[in-house]
């Protein structure tokens, strides 16, 4: 049952890794997220070096995004123009993120920065989702329809370099999608996530992309960003483990399909409530790791930074 990982230079129980991929895949199919934010911390808990975990999780996200994107593409629900503009910002973000990654490793602060970013991001997104889904559930019970308060961001309308996005029926400046892409690209390189759960709400509430094309477009952007990040991590940090990736992905794609089926039976608000609880639990676990007294206050890393 044990298999040797050539890049991580350690042996793992392959059943555990496939099950991990399947579990996270199930959740990503259920909630429509890539699952990177769960996979990276879980791999680190399992003893995989964090550099390998961050770089290899991206393969899992690519694979689970492909099947979703194909389904959306068949429904013609992908705005390739928007995905392309965001991916252009994403490339710059990845290059910046990989550079930042190397810098943090030299400074010995990588675990701290990654941990803090996770806690802040999971904490804020979890709280927002929890509040929203609770409000929706309450309103549903009392029978009052909820208006998803779309704020009118007039400053976004005022930006230059406007471009027409046919599929999204939008005529907006390219600056917000590029900045959004840059942000997600940076996070992808540092945290090993696809960034779907930032991208989707930002596209809906900030860019006002129609909900119909949001899913497909963000998936295409995620595929581009995670593929390029995998390439850069492989060439710059030699930290992608193909055996680990194969195991995760094999479990992940099966789990994702099962998750999609299970998700069809649950209501959207219930799903979001469950996801919010999950996100907050992971965030709290990571926060505890930052503030709890470590077993040994000394830590060791190979090599000279």
């Amino acid at each position: 049952m044990e298999i040797y990982l050539p890049v991580a230079e350690m042996s793992v129980n392959w059943l555990v890794i496939v099950a991990l991929g399947m579990g996270v895949g199930f959740l990503s199919g259920l909630f429509g997220v890539g699952g990177g934010f769960l996979m990276t911390p879980l791999l680190v808990f399992a003893g995989i070096p964090s550099t390998v975990a961050v770089a290899t999780t991206l393969s899992h996200v690519t694979a689970s995004s492909i099947s979703g994107a194909l389904a959306q593409w068949r429904k013609r629900a992908v705005d390739f123009g928007m995905a392309g503009v965001m991916a252009a910002g994403g490339m710059a973000g990845i290059v910046f993120g990989v550079w930042l990654f190397a810098l943090m490793r030299r400074q010995g602060q990588m675990d701290l920065i990654v941990g803090l970013s996770y806690v802040i991001m999971l904490g804020s997104i979890g709280v927002i989702m929890l509040r929203e889904s609770l409000a929706t559930l309450k309103a549903y019970r009392s029978g009052v329809p909820v208006s998803h308060g779309l704020v009118n961001h007039s400053w976004i309308q005022g930006l230059p370099f406007k471009m027409r996005f046919r599929q999204s029926r939008l005529y907006i400046s390219v600056i917000p999608p590029i900045v959004l892409g840059f942000l997600v690209g940076t996070l992808s390189a540092i945290m090993g996530i696809g960034g779907g759960f930032i991208l989707v709400p930002a596209m809906i509430y900030l860019l006002r992309v129609p909900t119909k094309v949001v899913m497909g477009t963000s998936l295409v952007q995620i595929i581009i960003v995670t593929s390029v990040t995998t390439l850069l991590q492989a060439t710059n940090n030699f930290s992608v483990d193909i055996v680990l990736a194969g195991l995760l992905v094999s479990g992940g794609v099966v789990g994702a399909q099962l998750g999609v089926r299970a998700g069809a039976k649950l209501r959207g608000e219930q799903l979001r409530l469950l996801l919010a609880i999950l996100v907050l639990t992971v965030g709290a676990g990571l926060a505890w790791q930052l503030i709890a007294r470590p077993a040994d206050i000394y830590s060791l890393s190979e090599g000279m930074p």
Binding site: E2, I3, Y4, P6, V7, E9, M10, S11, S59, H60, T62, A63, S64, S65, I66, S67, L70, A71, G108, Q109, D111, L112, L116, I223, S227, T230, L231, L232, Q233, A234, T235, F238, V240, I242, V243, A245, G246, V249, S250, V253, V254, A256, Q257, L290, I291, R293, P294, D296, I297, Y298, S299, L300, S301, E302, G303, M304, P305
Partner: protein, 247 residues
């Protein structure tokens, strides 16, 4: 210094015709890391020539891995969060160190002698220290870290004598070992002084697919990365086709 002493000992060993001598060997001179590798063990055996009384005589077997540069960091609590605040860099500490002996090393020889021959975990000294004025707690932390991961160990009383002069010991080689050249050193001590020593190289290397993948990741990282991306896209696509719902 240590290496010179050792070299001298190895040269002189065959000539010490009148005193006790040492012949030793290992069960295998290469450890192959395959896809099912989960750690293994080797047997180090030997014979004492012209064996005299067992009183005051000790055998020490040391398996030492390749040296590995390492950075040890100390965390401090700043605003409630544990932050790496101080670091020391070491060169010349081995990635693996296992010691088997007839008695605890502290009882075998005085610490100066142990330090001179480099016997025992406490005799492990880095050959160079970067950027720290007080490296001792960091060195202790490096030893603790490797012990926790089964990479450093001292195992007194683990040498079995099959007869008056024949002995053997089993050395565990855990899953997390580094590739490279290891050295198996066998020492014969009498009254705290090394009177004979022998060193045999041991190679740890990956074979077959593992080796090819590791080499590819480092020598052709672009094609390796492309292969990873292609693999995940292919698996994603296959699953989408297999599970396609009629809609």
């Amino acid at each position: 210094m240590r290496r010179m002493l050792l070299a001298l000992l190895f040269l002189l060993a065959p000539f010490g015709a009148r005193g006790e001598g040492l012949v030793s060997g290992i069960s295998q001179d290469t450890i192959q890391i395959t896809s099912s590798y989960t750690g293994t063990s080797i047997v180090v055996f030997g014979a004492i020539e012209r064996a005299q009384s067992a009183q005051g005589r000790n055998i020490v077997v040391v398996v030492r891995g390749p040296d590995e540069p390492m950075t040890v960091r100390r965390r401090e609590r700043i605003a409630g969060v544990w932050v790496n605040s101080d670091a020391a860099q070491f060169e010349g500490l081995p990635a693996y160190y296992y010691l088997a002996s007839t008695e605890p090393v502290a009882r075998i020889a005085p610490s100066e002698a142990l330090a001179r021959y480099g016997i025992g975990l406490q005799a492990l000294r880095p050959s160079a220290v970067g950027s720290h004025h007080d490296p001792e707690p960091f060195r202790q932390a490096a030893i603790r870290y490797h012990m926790r991961h089964g990479l450093y160990a001292e195992s007194p009383g683990s040498i079995d004598f099959l007869s008056e002069s024949l002995f053997r010991t089993r050395v565990p080689v855990p899953a997390g070992v580094t590739r490279g050249q290891y050295n198996v050193e066998v020492y014969l001590l009498r009254d705290g002084e090394v009177i004979s020593a022998q060193s045999t190289p041991l190679f740890v290397d990956a074979t077959g697919l593992e080796r090819r993948l590791y080499n590819m990741a480092h020598d052709a990282p672009l094609s390796y990365g492309l292969a990873c991306v292609f693999l995940s896209m292919l698996l994603g696509w296959i699953s989408a086709v297999l599970f396609r719902r009629p809609d």
